[in-house]
Subunit: 202 residues, 2 copies
Amino acid sequence: MTDRSTAAAIPSGRRTRLTPERERELFEAVVDLVREHGYEALTMDAVAARTRSSKATLYRQWESKPKLVATALRHLARFSPSCIDTGSLAEDLRQITREAAKHAVEDNALLSGLAHAVTKDPELQQALHDLYIRPELETLDAIMRRAVERGELDADNPATEFVVHLLVGALGTRRLVENKDPDAEYLERYLRAIVFPALGVS
Amino acid sequence: MTDRSTAAAIPSGRRTRLTPERERELFEAVVDLVREHGYEALTMDAVAARTRSSKATLYRQWESKPKLVATALRHLARFSPSCIDTGSLAEDLRQITREAAKHAVEDNALLSGLAHAVTKDPELQQALHDLYIRPELETLDAIMRRAVERGELDADNPATEFVVHLLVGALGTRRLVENKDPDAEYLERYLRAIVFPALGVS
């Protein structure tokens, strides 16, 4: 899937290769359009206009709107939280939450723009899962494994499987419940009131 | 706003009044279409076709797509959980969660279909909040007030403000995290691992 960007300079038959820079610019524009208008209202005409491309080029390179959007999601540069390791479970959870909160507004715009489409298209669903959920799951697994090793967390604490649901929920539900974006102060209250008691840490 | 249904039989000037039955049928069709296609992809043509109405009638009665959808949401018949009172906080929370779980698939379809639109349209946001969040908040407030009176719950437990976020999150995040719908067994595990420890009940 990423051959195209590394081999960008090499022309091949009928395909006009884009430079990696041009491709990244195009993917960012696609994701911005999903944030602004939602997936269903996104048209290839709008992508062509925003990126000053021809629709023929878009269809030749990516075949269809769902494939273009899924590819754009897969190329989106994301914060990798895998380096979080403060020596304390509470502090690790604060860091991963704080990092997620920095992007909450734009992430919620993208998630809401794709919310309905992913129920209809398994490839989009997988791309969104790989973008948001897989890295969080891997990081949380590592954070909690180290906390068990340090004796901070019971290995069989039943709350561990739900920590990712809790963090995704904290970021996603505040708009619906309170019509507010999640901020650092809200997340700290949420961690102390819900996540830390469930995990048995303070 | 509900004058229209009670006064449905009385013709008034240029407005063709619909019977309450016909109006309910039409609102249910609108909500079904939002579930199926998402708000952005919903057209007045599709509503007219599904309900065998003319577009002229739809626009005369409801002016615009956002007004029609907001009105349909406000007329949607909902389970009112206000009668839940088992004498135990844990059991009350089990009941409200179980009731919500019964409608989780169709509710998630509607929420995902409106997720992007409500970020752009305050009237739709308010209608969705009044449909899903306000009744849950009122019921949870009553449940927790009684638990405090019985001495089951500390009046100043900081988790109480987040119980609605936790229930909405439990129902809404499982699809994104695990690609599964929430079911009774998952919700029981979630209540026992997260909600009960945070509230200090078992």
